[in-house]
């Protein structure tokens, strides 16, 4: 059964890269009764552990989301900004944004003759306040904001912001609540700063020093009009990654995930992503190297305020995480 209440909470929680405090607190609340150990490292990664004497397995889903950061507050009360993570100027026009303090703004552009030449520098945030003193008091250089959009669910799918990678967090939370009976020493990591270069996973991978690592993250699909040529599709099941720009999945890890899927009747598909990367990138290069793989959730319309994934795929991913944790 899909836990809509949990997914909505995760999606709505504020947490752009480097500002993961609220989402971390939310996840701690959610999991603290189910794990043996829980800690936060110097960069802010949340590391939860189900103790065991066997193989050390690290799962990683990132808590952070893409957003914007204020770089300048002008005399008239308008805010200039730059992107935190992969956002392009042309996709931002007219969007509604929300800050950690709950205040909002809408993205406007300077008058431009050639729309193709739109850059981040030509955009600004109007926060809908005419009292300049109020703007000065409440918006500071360094403040971040994220998309504001309504969580929406159909029989099959969820449309929401920050599915990348709160759906990965959701999967780890649901899996650890049903942790399998195993000797494995399992670490469930909710990492920081993935969207700016998988920075949290690098330090978490170093600290944990696992025998096996599996990232749980969204991936693109090839099932929409004019989309990239890609086999992955919604309702195709858990996507077992073969490669992306940051990682060639260790063949034994790919084979293990395939074997576990077939053995447990888990619907799966293979994924080759021709761009991008995940936490498994830095983790597999940590210390002497870590055999690593990725379980991906097929997701449409990535890095927008309305990302779309299938609830059935999510169930398959949870089953596969549990199977891997217990293998």
């Amino acid at each position: 059964m899909f836990n809509s209440e949990l997914m909505k909470k995760l999606s709505d929680c504020f947490g752009p890269s480097g500002r993961e405090k609220y989402i971390r607190e939310l996840i701690i609340d959610e999991i603290k009764d189910y794990v043996d150990e829980i800690s936060t490292d110097p960069l802010g990664n949340l590391i939860a552990r189900k103790k065991g004497s066997g193989k050390k397995i690290m799962f990683s889903a990132h808590m952070d989301q893409i957003g914007l950061i204020v770089t300048h507050v002008d005399e008239k009360g308008f805010l200039r900004f730059t992107n935190v993570g992969g956002l392009k100027a042309k996709n931002l026009l007219g969007l509604h944004m929300v800050f950690a303090n709950g205040l909002e703004g809408v993205i406007c552009q300077e008058e431009l003759k050639d729309k193709e030449k739109l850059t981040m520098g030509k955009l600004f945030l109007d926060v809908g306040v005419t009292d300049k003193e109020f703007v000065k008091q409440n918006f500071r250089v360094g403040d971040m904001c994220v998309f504001k959009s309504q969580y929406y669910e159909t029989e099959d799918c969820v449309i929401c912001k920050a599915a990348d990678d709160r759906i990965g967090c959701y999967i780890l939370i649901e899996a650890l609540k049903n942790h399998p009976n195993t000797d494995n020493d399992v670490y469930y990591v909710f990492s920081v700063q993935e969207e700016v270069g998988c920075r949290g996973a690098k330090t978490a991978g170093y600290s944990i020093n696992p025998d096996l690592a599996i990232a749980v993250d969204v991936t693109a699909t090839g099932d929409t009009p004019d989309e990239i040529i890609m086999e992955v599709k919604l309702d195709g099941g858990a996507a077992i990654k073969i490669k992306d720009n940051s990682l060639i999945v260790h063949p034994e890890v790919k084979d293990m995930l395939t074997y576990l899927s077939e053995k447990n009747n888990i619907k799966y598909q293979y994924e080759i992503l021709e761009f991008g990367g995940t936490d498994a990138g830095p983790i597999h290069l940590s210390r002497e190297g870590v055999p690593s793989g990725v379980i991906s959730i097929p997701t449409r319309n990535l890095h927008t305020s309305g990302e779309i994934f299938s609830k059935k795929d999510v169930e398959e991913c949870i089953k596969l995480v549990r199977a891997a944790a217990g293998h």
Partner: protein, 337 residues
């Protein structure tokens, strides 16, 4: 302030010997313990009261050029080392190799340029270094492939407390770090003079690996784009407006709580500060915060106009503010309870 001496030394990334030797001698003079690591970082230790491990980093290297070919006429073709401002190369005076052979960067005369060429800066492959020789053999007696080339640029104090020189990025940081080590504060910190920042934060990574700091403080010369045609929101930092605290750049998202704490220390001590308001660029903090288990980092910078050229300009007031602020930040972090 050691800026005159420091900026007049050569230290292109990977070849920081002159700067390192100067710093070693100064450290001996002030009786500060130090060692040199395998990549050439100078790691000095100021012993004192300690709550946590603090690493204060400034990079010794500067952007420059490297000789890649000597042509049949004895002219030198070269490559850039680090993100040099290629617009400014033409007709600069440079020093080539260990023997500091003087040369000028040349190109064909303006009369011979096509209409299209005139409006633009020349790309690096259209430029060469002329050391006044007229044969390959003669040049080869003085210069070898692989020799490093740095700008010749005197240190000048001028105007309203301003300084001009080359390599202010990051000899300003080195100078401040030497001053901090000279103070013999009762607060423990490692002063690290790093190598190869300009080619990808390489020295800082191995230094942080050795020291495992809890807090990294990076002292930098950073971009000031306070030119008349630049809009306020694009200036990054403004010269003369104090120590610049980084919020986010291409290599680091700074922990905002730590940044605001440093801002508060500045306010409490009447030290002028500003925020560095561009998401571009990167410095040693990017390597330090991701090493081993991770570290908190702050970058405290001096705004430099015309950075990555042969003539950077900075303000002595900003220098003083960065020095004072860094000192207070170290003391605050190591004070007893």
């Amino acid at each position: 302030m050691f800026l005159k001496e420091l900026t007049e030394l050569s230290g292109v990334s990977g070849y920081e010997y002159e700067v390192r030797n100067y710093i070693k001698n100064k450290l001996k003079e002030i009786d500060c313990e130090y060692y040199i690591d395998k990549l050439g970082n100078v790691i000095a230790h100021n012993k004192g009261r300690k709550n946590k491990t603090i690493m204060v980093a400034a990079h010794m290297d500067e952007v420059g050029l490297i000789v890649r070919q000597i042509d049949s006429k004895g002219l030198i073709k070269f490559e850039a080392v680090g993100g040099i401002d290629q617009r400014v190369l033409n007709s600069k005076v440079v020093l080539v190799g260990d023997n500091k052979i003087p040369g000028v960067i040349g190109s064909k005369a303006v009369h011979l340029m096509s209409k299209e060429e005139r409006g633009k800066s020349l790309p690096i492959d259209k430029l060469y270094i002329d050391i006044g020789t007229d044969s390959k053999e003669e040049t080869e007696k003085l210069v070898s492939i692989g020799d490093y080339v740095s700008f010749k640029s005197d240190y000048v104090e001028f105007g309203d407390n301003m300084i001009k020189g080359k390599a202010l990025d990051d000899r300003v940081g080195c100078s401040i770090l030497l001053e901090l080590l000279s103070m013999k504060l009762d607060a423990d910190f490692y002063g690290v003079f790093t190598v190869m920042e300009e080619v990808g934060l390489r020295g800082a990574e191995t230094a942080a690996y050795q020291l495992e700091p809890d807090l990294g403080i990076v002292l930098e010369g950073t971009v000031s784009a306070d030119m008349p045609e630049v809009e306020d929101y694009d200036k990054t930092t403004i010269i003369g407006k104090g120590a610049a605290l980084s919020i986010m750049d291409n290599a680091t998202v700074y922990d905002i709580d730590v940044v605001r704490e440093v801002a508060k220390i500045a306010e409490d001590n009447n030290i002028q500060y500003q925020y560095r308001t561009s998401g571009a660029g990167g410095n040693d903090a990017g390597a330090i915060h991701k090493t081993k288990k991770g570290a908190k980092v702050v970058s405290i910078s001096i705004p430099c106009r015309y950075i990555h050229s042969s003539v950077s300009v900075a303000s002595k007031n900003d220098y003083e503010n960065v020095l004072r602020l860094t000192k207070e930040v170290i003391l605050e972090n190591q004070k007893g309870d």
